[in-house]
């Protein structure tokens, strides 16, 4: 009993640690600028200033940023689904000449940091006239070594007999993948999709390097610009912008939460 109480207390503490910055962001986004500076800091603004959001939205072409972010993140997700699933299935289920070597190569790419290859990729995209396009932001992430690895693990846990039964049921390999395998690894897939979405939605470095004008610029770049526009740091507006940035992630998380929890306690297919 005492242990349980202790357990709950520890968890509460953790929640507090993670939730506090978020709460602070929310509270700041509803304050007036002077209010953000007062000491001691107040948690609850006297009068919530919803206009901060409108102001953040107006500092640049936010609708465009938003759409760009959306197109890029979703585009990456679709491309990744199309490449990762067949690749992971092949690595998990087929024995072909050089399969181990190929998988090794895939794994090695996991260890190369983006900062190391952005220059050659930049030159390549520039040569292909893909700078400042959505495609240019999507293509470098059209597949994911981590995703292949994760999904391959999932596919390997599926008992061989299930696939054999499907073959006896005259299912084509594609049918087996789409109708049998993918539903079985859904928790893993959803979790990966969420991580991928968050990573690319929030990505600052890559779009910063690969765009030189507003055509394909994404939301994080837009938010960063809030600081530049005003002379002083308008924390309240900046936080409002940040909340606009994370809102879609919160929505996505809300809908996939169930699967993510399943993926982390994932103990194989019965």
């Amino acid at each position: 009993m005492a242990l349980r109480v202790l357990n709950v207390l520890c968890l509460l503490l953790l929640v507090l640690v993670f939730a506090m910055p978020f709460g602070w962001m929310l509270s700041t986004s509803l304050k007036t600028l002077p209010e953000t500076m007062i000491f001691p800091p107040a948690w609850i603004p006297k009068q919530p200033v919803w206009e901060n959001y409108a102001e953040a939205w107006k500092t640049g072409p936010f609708l465009k940023y938003f759409m760009n972010s959306f197109i890029v993140a979703i585009g990456i997700l679709i491309c990744q689904a199309l490449t990762i699933i067949p690749a992971a299935y092949a690595f998990a289920r087929y024995k072909f000449a050089g399969s181990n070597l190929l998988f090794g190569v895939v794994m090695v790419t996991l260890m190369i940091p983006a900062q190391l290859i952005f220059l050659p990729v930049y030159l390549e995209l520039s040569a292909l006239k893909l700078l400042n396009t959505h495609l240019g932001l999507i293509l470098p992430f059209a597949s994911s070594a981590f995703g292949i690895f994760l999904l391959r693990q999932g596919f390997m846990q599926v008992p061989e007999e299930l696939i054999e039964a499907a073959r006896l049921d005259q299912a084509s390999e594609w049918k087996i993948i789409v109708r049998l395998m993918v539903p079985l690894v859904k928790p893993v897939l959803v979790t990966f999709a969420l991580f991928s979405f968050i990573a690319h939605w929030n990505d600052y470095f890559w779009p910063l390097v690969m765009t030189t004008n507003e055509t394909a610029r994404t939301l994080p770049l837009g938010i960063a610009k809030i600081r530049e526009v005003e002379g002083v740091a308008t924390w309240n507006v900046l936080m409002a912008g940040n909340l606009i940035l994370v809102a879609p992630i919160l929505v996505a998380f809300f809908f996939s939460q169930r699967h993510i929890i399943r993926a982390f306690v994932y103990s194989g297919v019965k």
């Binding site: 039964a165 073959r167 049921d169 049998l180 019965k270």
Partner: protein, 356 residues
């Protein structure tokens, strides 16, 4: 409906030969049981018929047609797996329907077939459940329904009852036999349980280390085992086998060397003062087991330990017993384990032996 022929089949995994030159014809409409100890290659043989495993050599024919290069889905074979292999993310209906959809059966037709099958195996109430929500017996039925709905030429079952408890196993056994009668399709059934094999099969194939020991009807297998392996594999308890050198008081006359002597525990009778003619053994009772209608004794004689089984007799309490086996119930085997025929017991010795 189809006959299955396996001609000179070989199967190697890397360098390990699992099956070497196997020849077998499975009769059209038969209930053929492959039986043998674990690892003898039963599943491998079955999987080659289904096309889940390719034969390293030889030819497989189903219904007279060579199918070596035919994909599993196109062999008109349905399989029931040991752990059922139901699709976990699909409902019972989805499981049964999957194969039909892949064959392009129209929706109305599918519904009709599913309703029919569900009725037969008693699943009508459970069609919208997921496999995880079913009991072992119900899963078994779904696996059967999934196989049956395709109306295959051949049914293949790999130890389908081994995950069920004893009572349900008996019940499903009967149901499978009835199902076979009703469908008239060729059934190929794998088990390592000889009792199951004897009670279900009309044709039994005994395998050992990738080699067919004997393929026969249950009665022939029991009464006329072709070799020592079959003799000892079929029957509970197994056939008693003694070394002829240890078999005192028995002189045999034969063209070839007789190495072993065998008799079934249920053929030996307790000697009631020389009323029976036959091979006599004297020994100490080591254990007695009473199963109600039958009693099993383990007896230690100078020539070795053997079992005697009696039916509907009171349990014997004495320590030392005399047992007699009628001569015509003795089986003889050569040094290679092959059954020997035409072995005679020498009459002169007989009289002497009788006096022991």
């Amino acid at each position: 409906m189809a006959k299955i022929e396996l001609i000179n089949i070989c199967k190697k995994y890397k360098d390990e030969t699992v099956i070497d030159d196997l020849n077998l014809t499975i009769k059209d409409g038969s209930f053929t049981v492959l039986v043998g100890p674990s690892g003898c290659g039963k599943s491998t043989t079955l999987r080659m018929i289904a096309g889940l495993e390719t034969a390293t050599g030889g030819e497989i024919r189903i219904g007279g047609k060579r199918v070596n290069d035919t994909a599993p889905g196109h062999r008109d074979v349905a399989m029931v797996f040991q752990n059922y292999a139901l699709y976990p993310t699909m409902t019972v209906r989805g499981n049964i329907e999957f194969g039909l959809k892949n064959r392009g059966v129209a929706k109305a037709e599918r519904e009709k077939l599913i309703a029919e099958i569900a009725e037969i195996v008693g699943l009508d109430q459970l069609l919208d459940r997921k496999p995880q929500q079913l009991s072992g017996g119900q899963r078994q039925r779904v696996a059967l329904a999934r196989a049956m709905v395709k109306k295959p030429k051949v049914f293949i079952l790999d130890e389908p009852l081994s995950n069920l408890d004893a009572k349900l196993r008996n019940q499903m056994r009967t149901e499978l036999i009835q199902l076979h009668r009703r469908l008239g399709t060729t059934f190929v059934y794998v088990t390592h349980d000889q009792v199951e094999a004897m009670s279900m099969g009309d044709e039994i194939v005994v395998m050992h280390q990738g080699v067919i020991q004997q393929a026969d009807t249950p009665m022939k297998l029991y009464h006329e085992p072709a070799n020592l392996f079959t003799a000892q594999f079929i029957g509970t308890p197994a056939m008693n086998v003694l070394d002829t050198r240890d078999a005192a008081g028995l002189s045999l006359e034969s063209e070839s060397t007789v190495a072993k002597l065998g008799f079934r525990p249920e053929q030996a009778v307790f000697d009631w003062g020389g009323m029976h003619e036959g091979y006599r053994l004297t020994g100490e009772v080591m254990t007695r087991e009473s199963l109600g209608a039958e009693n099993i004794y383990q007896i230690k004689a100078p020539g070795g330990v053997f079992f005697v089984k009696t039916f509907l007799e009171p349990l014997r309490e004495e320590q030392t017993v005399r047992v007699v086996v009628p001569y015509e119930q003795l089986y003889y085997f050569g040094p290679d384990g092959k059954r020997l025929y035409g072995v005679r017991v020498q009459e002169r010795q007989l009289a002497a032996a009788g006096g022991v």
